[in-house]
């Protein structure tokens, strides 16, 4: 895809947030905080980092993007629609009967959805399997990106994959941890402490980058840097604000697994459209 200026990408990320709010309100269930927090990362990936073709989702040379924490899929659906994988009007079918946009993503229903996910902890190991296959096939200019939640790192399967990635030095795997510090039951450090998170990954044989995950440009830079690391797999710890862009949702774990009602959605959309009251919304 043709690369666009950062300012333009920031507008796209904001549009994606609006769509997330509309989708969740319409669906009446689903997760709000994670998808909003991930909008900048998904914009960076789909509109700059990934080698992909929305008109040819099975393109054999494409980079792979796995969403391991499947509950955040509204951000992926919204971004895919903006990137041209399917019509934006289909976004409002989220979680409805017969929709390709299942509550948790299913690969077999939607072209471009690289795997089925929802049960946590399975994305990194699939990424490792894919990377091993690429190595067997001597595909060197292809990367597997896998977005994970931080609460998801409680799963043992993650650390099995962490060991494997370190062992085989899977340098075409680039992990991105959505470090937003919340999970369903509360703050991650109360539920099951993850720190020293950087040290953990480093000790498993990964090169770790830390980045502001709500800065599109910083995310792009981190991914580009990750591609230059040849001796190890890379884990990008992306610090994000859950609920980013909607003041009353930001950093409140109660919004992890809840959708906005009509009034809340209206308020959220107003905030997003006026960039937090800084500009006049075109809908007013």
């Amino acid at each position: 895809m043709k690369k666009q200026p950062i300012a333009r990408l920031e507008v796209i990320a904001n549009d994606i947030r609006e769509d997330i709010i509309k989708m969740l309100e319409h669906a009446g269930s689903g997760h709000s905080a994670g998808p909003l927090g991930l909008a900048d990362i998904f914009t960076a990936l789909y509109f700059d980092v990934l080698k992909h073709d929305p008109k040819n989702p099975d393109w054999p040379e494409r980079d792979i993007l796995l969403l391991s924490n499947g509950h955040c899929v509204p951000v992926r659906y919204a971004t895919m629609a903006h990137a041209g994988y399917f019509p934006k009007k289909e976004l409002l079918t989220l979680r409805k009967f017969g929709s390709r946009l299942q509550g948790h993503p299913e690969r077999t229903r939607l072209p471009g959805m690289e795997t089925t996910s929802g049960p946590l902890g399975c994305g990194l190991s699939q990424a490792c399997g894919m990377a091993l296959a690429m190595r067997m096939d001597k595909q060197t200019k292809r990367w597997v990106y896998v977005v994970m939640g931080d609460g998801e790192l409680n799963e043992g399967n993650i650390w099995e994959a962490a060991m494997l990635g370190g062992k085989y030095r899977l340098n075409n795997v680039i992990g991105i941890i959505d470090r937003n510090n919340i999970q369903i039951d509360g703050p991650t450090e109360d539920i099951m402490p993850l720190e020293d998170l950087k040290g953990k990954w480093e000790s498993f044989g990964w090169h770790v980058l830390e980045v502001n995950g709500n800065d599109v440009e910083a995310v792009i830079d981190a991914c580009n840097m990750a591609k230059t690391i040849v001796e190890k797999p890379v884990m990008i710890i992306a610090h994000t604000i859950p609920g980013k862009g909607v003041d009353f949702m930001e950093s409140d774990f109660h919004w992890h697994g809840a959708p906005p009602n009509h009034e809340q959605a209206k308020k959220a959309l107003h905030e997003l459209r006026t960039l937090g009251g800084k500009i006049r919304g075109e809908h007013e």
């Binding site: 795997t115 190991s125 699939q126 990424a127 990377a131 296959a133 099995e160 994959a161």
Partner: protein, 324 residues
Amino acid sequence: MTDLHLADLSETLLEEPIRKGFGRGLLAAGKLDVNVVAACADLTDSTQMSLFKAEFPERFVEVGVAEQNLATVGAGLAAMGKIPFVSSYAAFSPGRNWEQIRTTACLNERAVKIVGSHAGVSVGPDGATHQMLEDIALMRVLPNMVVIVPGDSLEAERATLAMAKDHRPNYLRLAREATPVITTSNTPFEIGKAYVYEKGSDVTIITTGTMTYQALRAAEQLYKDGIEAEVVHVPTIKPLDAETILKSVRKTGCVVTAEEGQVAGGLGGAIAELLAENHPVPMKRIGMLDRFGESGVPNELLEYFGLDAKHIRLAAHHTIDKKK
């Protein structure tokens, strides 16, 4: 039956662990198709993946003692066009990684080949923790999954070759101990087919895995008792060959099933479901009856739990009595 080219049971049969056939089959499949790859969870010799590993080290992945990773790495390999065989003991895979198999292989429609070795009480001295009895039930309930339980090493070899060409997730159940080889290299094997190994009209004995040999021995004894037993070997428990099974049962009017695992949800469960809906008849199920195994010598355990020719014969008499 001559067209199945079975071994002559009146001669001394070669005995070989069923898993050995898998090892040979995997190597052969690897030679036939460059996309066949293998992953193991620290049991490469036990599961007989060592043959493949020695020939194709670059197509072999050692994941360590990590069965959740084993299944999901397999799904990743399959996503890139590989045909991954992933092996461990059945107690751990699919025992430990069922949800990973459900989501990333079955729902995700990735053709991972799960190979569970050391199933059944005939594992012996290792005891109940390692004697997997629930794997057939666990795998049989998963949509898209194919469940294969070969009766001897030669059949395991053919099954492995067939699995490499099948586009669905598959589960292959293997036993540890030496098992009499009752088929020959000319015996047919097709996924989804049941085979009538012995013709008879008084009772249908439906078996899978290691119990098929026991059923053939039971049929010999029953013949001396004046009973002609039909032995139907069911190496594919899912999809079940309903046509072959119902044809036999309509003829004989009563059934004994035999397997080295829990009858609940296992072959016995599958046959009971089929017959209850289509052709209810008197039935006895030989297998593990809602209990665990324990340490011991394989043969004494099989006898203790009633998993042998003697008990199949008794069950046949009982079920025939119930016909009247």
